[in-house]
Structure formats: C-alpha cells, structure tokens
C-alpha cells in the first residue's frame, strides 16, 4: 500500500469516528502532536501533585488528610496512565522525563502558582480540577484509542476531586471570620489562572485547528472557557463568595456570562518559565528523579540476581 492509500484509510477512520490504534499507520504530524499533547498532559498531573502535596502534613483534620492523600495519589496514577499512552506512540519514559526536566516540554501553567493557605486546596479542587474536567470529558472521544481510554479512566476518578475541593470551601465559608476571609482570598488568587488553563483564544492558539481536524480536540478553547465561567458563576453563589471579576455579568441575549479581560501577558510569562513557582517545581522534580536513582538501579540488580539464580536452579 502506498502512503496515499494509508492516508485515505486514516482520514476515513477519523471521519467515521473509528479509533486510531498504536500499530495503525498515521501521519507523522499526528503522531508528533499526540506525543506532545499526551506527554505534557502527563507532566501536568505529576507536577500538579506538588502544590497539593504541600498541605498534606498540615491538613486540619484526619479526614481532610486522608482525602487529600487519595487525591494526590490519583494524580500520580493519572500521570502514569498518560505516560503509558504516550509510550505507545514510540517515545520512551526516559525521553519524556528528560524533556520535562530540560524545559523542552511544558506542563499546565496553573501548577506554577503557590498554595499559600489551606483554602488554596479547596480552590484548586473546585476551580482547577473543575477546569480540567471540562477539558477532559470531550477528550474521552479523542481519535487516538489509548489517549481516549486513559481519559475515560481519569474522568471517572476526577469527580471526587472537585467535590472534595468545593466541600472544603463550603466548610470555610460557613466558619469563622478568618476562614471566610481565606476562602475569598484563595478564590481571588486562583480564579484568573484557572480561566487561563483553557489556553489562548483559538485564533492565537497555533495547534487548535490541526488538532480539531484530527478530532483530538472537540471544542474550542473559548467554548470550554465560556462553559466553565457560566458554571462557576452559579456555583460561587452557594459559597456566598464572589469571583474577582467586576465585569462578570449575565448576558440575557447571549445566554452566557460576560466576563472581563484576561491578562495574557501573565500567561505568557508563566509559560515561559517566569511564574511564581516554575523553578521550585522543576527543582523538586529533578531532585526526586535523582534521589530515586538508587532505587531504580537496586530493583533492576535484584531482579537480575533472582533471574540468574533461577536459571542456575533449572540448569
């Protein structure tokens, strides 16, 4: 079969919503963009463990500690599902980790912000996981099989994350003056970065058109962002708090909430490595990898030793 014929079969599968699987022929550009997207998604999950891991030792109750540990454990698992999915496309775990550590690969901008109070853990669960869910549900129908299947597994696990976060904020909002204050303060600091999680407007988003054509992406950044804002604008009322946007207003004609301008300069800076915690996140990841080297080597040496012993017994 010629490349043209393979291309035709590929295009046909895409238009008929038939999944592309690891050993199928695919355009090199499709493979590359998926490797980029899936690996960066995986990096985001792993790096995302850091801001929340920060509060495990200081959770206010045993119940809060147990649920936070479970959430962070889930994020580790999500990263691993995604690394495995990316590996089916021909990249190794080592390469992906090197790309993260060298700065060649990006991860979600949101994880470069600090968690300053316990209320931040609530805000992250409600807003950051909320935005992630909005992004991830359509990905369950992504054209590449292993990615879509990983996303189905992730989405099933993600809903408790958001409920956990909202419950934390709800508890704070019904508490003392200080608790109400840190609740509003956390919302003030996490709102706009969460809104930016959906990425730039699609005419400024270089990859959007191609990934939509290949049915990796199903909705535009702006569509998802609008949906997120509409949903949160209602949910925040239950907390008796406000979103830090003076221009947030229901528009009866559009049937959506109008909202204020996004500071894209901040987004650009954070993506470029100049956010509040970029360096700290990378230092933590590199250190974890280096500190764990002896464990990886020891495990392999032990497995090797056992194998040789087995061979000797059989001989």
């Amino acid at each position: 079969m010629t490349e043209l014929e393979f291309q035709k079969i590929f295009d046909d599968k895409i238009s008929r919503e038939i999944r592309i699987e690891p050993r199928d022929w695919m355009p090199e550009a499709y493979r590359k963009t998926l490797i980029r997207q899936i690996s960066q998604h995986a990096h985001s999950e792993i790096v995302g463990m850091l801001p929340e891991g920060n509060w495990i030792t200081r959770a206010p109750t045993l119940r809060r500690k147990a649920t936070l540990i479970a959430k962070v454990q889930d994020e580790a698992g999500h990263g691993l599902y995604l690394y495995s999915a990316a590996e089916t496309l021909g990249i190794t775990r080592d390469e992906m980790i090197s790309q993260l550590h060298s700065g060649k690969a990006k991860y979600s901008s949101i994880f470069n912000y600090p968690t300053l109070t316990w209320a931040d853990i609530g805000a992250i669960g409600w807003l950051v996981d909320g935005a992630a869910i909005m992004n991830q549900v359509p990905l369950c129908r992504a054209s590449y099989g292993p990615y879509a299947r990983a996303m189905v597994r992730i989405c099933k696990e993600e809903s408790f994350h958001q409920r956990q976060g909202f419950e934390i904020l709800l508890t704070l909002s019904r508490g003392s003056e200080i608790q109400k204050r840190i609740c509003q303060d956390a919302i003030n600091r996490w709102w706009w970065p969460s809104v930016m999680m959906f990425g730039p407007s699609d005419d400024h988003s270089p990859n959007s058109q191609q990934t939509m054509h290949w049915k990796i992406k199903r909705f535009s950044n702006d569509e998802l962002r609008q949906k997120f804002i509409d949903v949160c604008a209602e949910q925040v009322k239950i907390l008796g708090m406000v979103l830090p946007d003076p221009l947030l207003r229901w528009n009866e004609e559009r049937k959506h909430y109008d909202f204020g301008p996004i500071n894209w300069e901040e987004f650009k800076q954070v993506i470029a490595g100049n956010g509040p915690c970029n360096r700290e996140r990378m230092t933590a990841r590199v250190q974890a990898h280096e500190d764990g080297a002896w464990v990886r080597e020891a495990a392999m040496a032990y497995a090797d030793k056992k194998k040789k012993k087995q061979e000797k017994n059989v001989a």
Binding site: M1, D24, Q73, G77, S84, R149, M300, Y302, A303, K307
Partner: protein
C-alpha cells in the same frame, strides 16, 4: 544493567464482579512481583478483590490491523452465524 532496562508490562484486570480480564494499560517494572504491586497501585485504587495479570509486553502477540479486512474476510459473508438468519415462527418460545 541500569535503570533504563525496566521492561514494559501489559496489565489485565478482572474486577470482583467481572467475568474476564480487561486490558487496563501498561507500566514499567523490574520484575513480575513489582509489576503486580505497581498494577495494584496504579490501576485498582477503587477496586477490591480483583485479579491482576501482568505480561511482559514483548510476549503479547497481536494481529496486524492493516490486514484486518483480508484476515477476517471469511467471517463477514458467512451470515448464517447470526441468529437472525434463521426464520422461525413467533409462537416458538424460549429460543
């Protein structure tokens, strides 16, 4: 032997209520025992009483998807394998 040599394993899981093992994904581990323990941690955080199978990926043999049509061709036109091929009276129950 260095860390780069942790082999890849495919993970199959049968849930407590399940009938068969389903492919859950893959992971890297130094040996079978570690693969099973890692599979438990990565893929069964919400399941109890499950059965986990791990197989080194290199031992999984797969059909070639590009040959799909010629490989499975004989099956498609043998319509008599499908129950609706047989016309039977409606009064006939339990069949």
């Amino acid at each position: 032997m260095n860390e780069k040599d942790w082999p890849l394993w495919e993970v199959f899981i049968r849930s407590k209520q399940g009938l068969d093992h389903k492919h859950a994904g893959s992971l890297h581990a130094a040996d079978a025992r570690m693969a099973i323990e890692n599979a438990r941690d990565v893929y069964t955080r919400r399941m109890e009483g499950v059965s986990i199978w791990v197989v080194e990926s290199k031992y999984v043999h797969a059909s070639n998807p590009d040959e799909a049509s010629s490989f499975y061709d004989p099956a498609n036109d043998k319509v008599y394998r499908h129950p609706t091929f047989y016309k039977l009276p409606e009064e006939l129950k339990n069949m």
